[in-house]
């Protein structure tokens, strides 16, 4: 299947690939997986004292669309408060990357990963 240019761009030059120390108090880690295709996604956020996300990173094993979705949201969440990050909808990811219907689940995975990361962080604080 042909990927759109935006997906290819994120796939070939993924932003913010990496890991933070998940034990740190200001780091939230979201681990999610898509059973149907076996994709695994880890998304981490780091907040400052004002509760604003100052950095984010991800590691994804999956198809190009899953990698692009997670790469995109790490860019989007930077500078946002936790509540703003929670308001990111998968449909926005679909629109931005022009994902075809069969790849919508990748954007759902990325949305769920943000939610899981925020939840993890809130549990710690």
């Amino acid at each position: 299947m042909a990927y759109t240019e935006k997906v290819l761009d994120h796939y070939e030059n993924p932003r913010n690939v990496g890991s933070f120390d998940k034990e740190e108090k200001n780091v939230g880690t979201g681990m999610v997986g898509a059973p149907a295709c076996g994709d695994v996604m880890k998304l981490q956020i780091k907040v400052n004292e004002q509760g604003v996300i100052e950095d984010a990173c991800f590691k994804t094993y999956g198809c190009g669309s899953a990698i692009a979705s997670s790469s995109l949201v790490t860019e989007w969440v930077k500078g946002k408060t936790l509540d703003e990050a929670l308001s990111i909808k998968n449909s926005e990811i679909v629109d931005e990357l022009e994902l075809p219907p069969v790849k919508v689940h990748c954007s759902v995975l990325a949305e769920d990963a943000i939610k899981a990361a925020v939840e993890d962080l809130k549990k710690k604080q």
Partner: protein, 175 residues
């Protein structure tokens, strides 16, 4: 071919007991027998309607065989027959997912180091985990004490199968 039961139950179609444990040689012989009965070649002189029916039956028999032969899809079929709905979407079992991620990282390292011994070790590790899932499925289905827990095992097996496929394609590239 009127003797083919009208059923969505692939076990009944192939006249096998409705259970997770399966005798694969019995499955193969039941399949070959039915395939012979419904084979389109037997209907070349039949009416268009009969030919069409035979074609449909042949497809159904092929589907049944493919589904029952595979340890994952057989479990999914049993869940479906028992009207158990598994949550299809995101899995969030951090411990399991973390282990999956580590295995994929390991696979990445093997791709770089081209260490076939290490790849062999990873294969047997994944196989053990797959077998453990199948054993638990067998226990859940034979206990007949609520099938919902089978959903978790099915999900885990999906991840493990995917990982196994990726290890296989790496092996192909390396050898």
């Amino acid at each position: 071919m009127n003797d083919l039961p009208h059923t969505d139950n692939y076990f009944e179609l192939l006249q096998l007991p409705v259970q997770y444990a399966i005798d694969k040689s019995r499955l193969s012989s039941a399949y070959r027998e039915l395939q012979r009965v419904v084979h389109p070649d037997r209907f070349v002189n039949a009416s268009a309607h009969e030919r069409c029916l035979a074609q449909q039956k042949a497809t159904l028999v092929n589907d049944a065989y493919r589904i029952l032969r595979d340890d994952l899809s057989r479990a999914q079929h049993l869940l479906q027959l028992n009207q158990v709905e598994c949550q299809p979407h995101t899995l969030s079992d951090p411990e399991f997912l973390m282990a999956q991620m580590q295995l994929r990282e390991e696979l990445e390292m093997i791709a770089a180091s081209k260490d076939l011994d290490q790849l062999g070790a990873l294969f047997s590790h994944v196989q053990q985990q797959q077998q453990a899932c199948k054993d638990r499925l067998q226990a859940i289905f034979s206990a007949k004490d609520g099938f919902q827990p089978a959903c978790d095992e099915v999900t885990k097996l999906q991840f493990l199968n995917k990982l196994y496929e990726e290890a296989e394609s790496l092996e192909e590239r390396l050898t």
